[in-house]
């Protein structure tokens, strides 16, 4: 209890890490709901890995003498962001174009991209003679060491993402649910798809840098899965998923701090705990409803 109070104090040493992981937990599921609904869950696996490969590539280039932004810590972060955004953006473009063409096996393409991204990440790390340890830290995500400036930048960007996701929910829903209907209503499916993919790219790129590929995948997919059985409409789906993600991040932070465990994996385990609870509760609720309906049947 005393440790919980310590964490909640305004002067808590790791307060940026606490609030940062909470922001990630609340916002990522807002984007992740569309991964689930559009049946693009595998994108959630592949894109963080691609983003990690982008970070590794940027650092490798720097190590090989392409030191365009070398030097201070902030510049290294910028380098990582550029690598992450470029790789993620190009991959989304490739996947989206292939999806629209509708040829080939979608899962196969994503699987191949994932394997390539993973292999490339390892190779880029191996080729990077300088700063391997620091880069591995970035790849795993270093939210505990997040600086004041990075925290505020993250807050601004993820805040904007949350606003866009809520404000344009109708449009994203329409083009995801019934593309033909969207066209007959005069809506440009391409424009809304591009906006959604841009948001996905931004979320994944920044998320991977902040919490690492494993955690970003966990936050994108697991809270929406936990929320889906209880959702009654898009708004409730987004809100429940977001609350579940935020609670997982905060719960994960508490467990990580008190038990001295790595934050990311603990947060993902807590989210999976919520998922298991959600499924169990849903099964119990369905059984209870079935029993009630059975007892309410008139006697023949």
């Amino acid at each position: 209890m005393s440790q919980l109070l310590e964490i909640l104090k305004p002067g808590f040493l790791l307060h940026h890490a606490l609030y940062g992981s909470a922001v990630m937990g609340f916002v990522c599921p807002l984007v992740g709901v569309y991964f689930l609904l559009r049946r693009l869950v595998f994108w959630g696996v592949a894109l963080p890995q691609v983003s990690a490969a982008g970070i590794a590539c940027a650092f490798m280039l720097q190590g090989l003498g392409w030191s365009m932004l070398a030097g201070a810590e902030t510049q290294e972060k910028h380098l990582a962001i550029i690598g992450s955004v470029v790789f993620t953006g190009l991959s989304i473009l490739f996947l989206a174009v292939m999806e629209r063409r509708g040829k080939g096996v979608s899962e196969g393409r994503i699987g191949a991209l994932y394997a390539l991204a993973w292999a490339a990440s390892i190779l880029f790390v191996a080729w990077n003679a300088a700063g391997e340890t620091e880069m591995l830290g970035l790849l795993k995500g270093e939210i505990v060491a997040i600086s004041e400036n990075d925290f505020h930048a993250m807050l601004d960007i993820f805040g904007l993402i949350a606003v866009v996701m809520f404000f344009f929910q109708r449009e994203f829903l329409l083009v995801s649910y019934d593309r033909d209907m969207a066209v007959t209503l005069g809506r440009s499916v391409l424009v809304w798809d591009v906006l959604l993919y841009l948001i996905v790219g931004l979320t994944v790129s920044l998320g991977v840098m902040t919490v690492g590929p494993l955690v970003i995948f966990g936050f994108l997919v697991v809270p929406p899965m936990a929320a889906l059985p209880w959702a009654r409409g898009m708004m409730s789906f987004s809100i429940i998923a977001s609350l579940c993600g935020g609670a997982s991040a905060l719960g994960g932070f508490y467990v990580s701090y008190t038990k001295d465990l790595p934050l990311g994996p603990v947060a993902v385990c807590v989210a999976c705990g919520f998922l298991a609870l959600s499924w169990l509760a849903r099964a119990a609720w369905s059984r209870l409803k079935g029993r009630r309906a059975h007892t309410a049947l008139p006697a023949v």
Binding site: L37, R39, E171, L174, Y177, M181, L228, R232, M234, F237
Partner: protein, 238 residues
């Protein structure tokens, strides 16, 4: 004769450079009830998708204009199986999509969402009681009513339905056809309905568009359904 709503002249329709229907030549007048008929794979859906602007006309002329000389407002009813049941939407949410024509910033900020129109459309389709139910839990006939309500919520000039009676029992089919007839008469809608059979609905159609072997022929319903005419065009038997 009124100005046609839709006009094809020597048109060629298809996907990705592959023609499916050639020599398409017909006009659709306002307030007609047109059955787009043909066997599976005959190009009915290609024709409907071109009409709706989902795919471009490959060659020839295709013009359509509504009351204000702009594009006509379509109320589209897709095949109900096409909509993914994973979405956690109520019937009300599905009908609400019909009101998403405009990107209205301020009404949205004020929380105005066309609730009255949605409820009116659900009531017109006899689906008021379904509003709060999960769309994915509805029966085939109930889903079709909700999709027609969604199409009405677009305040259409043309109602375009893709196989609305497929997989629905005969009693519900009759009820849905009665509903469509009522909309045509009361709201003066033009209705285009794709079907691969004509038993239940032939009494409603004013015109029939036949698609077969890459060709399209249109005519008044009596003429098109006469045995001799059908044999002549498609060597088919009713």
């Amino acid at each position: 004769m009124k100005e046609p709503l839709i006009k094809f002249k020597h048109a060629c329709l298809g996907y990705g450079g592959n023609p499916v229907l050639t020599g398409v030549d017909f006009e659709i007048q306002p307030q007609s009830f047109v059955g787009i008929l043909g066997h599976n794979g005959s190009g009915k859906t290609t024709l409907l998708k071109t009409l709706l602007g989902l795919i471009p006309c490959m060659k020839g002329q295709f013009t359509s204009h509504g009351a204000n000389l702009g594009l006509p407002r379509y109320g589209y009813v897709p095949q109900k199986e096409r909509l993914d049941p994973i979405y956690p939407l109520s019937a009300h949410d599905v009908v609400a999509m019909g009101t998403y024509r405009k990107l209205e910033f301020f009404p949205r900020l004020r929380g105005k969402d066309g609730r009255g129109l949605i409820e009116h459309c659900l009531a017109a389709c006899g689906a008021s009681h379904l509003g709060q139910k999960a769309y994915s839990d509805l029966s085939g006939g109930q889903k079709q009513r909700v999709l027609i309500a969604r199409a009405l919520a677009t305040e259409p000039e043309i109602l375009a339905l893709d196989e609305p009676l497929a997989g629905i029992d005969i009693t519900t089919q009759k009820a849905l056809l009665k509903l469509l007839k009522q909309f045509k008469e009361q709201r003066h809608l033009t209705i285009l309905m794709v079907s691969h059979r004509i038993q239940a609905e032939k009494g409603l159609f004013t015109h029939i568009v036949w698609c077969d072997e890459g060709q399209v022929v249109m005519g008044p319903v009596d003429e098109m359904l006469s045995h001799g005419r059908l044999s002549e065009i498609f060597k088919a038997e009713l």
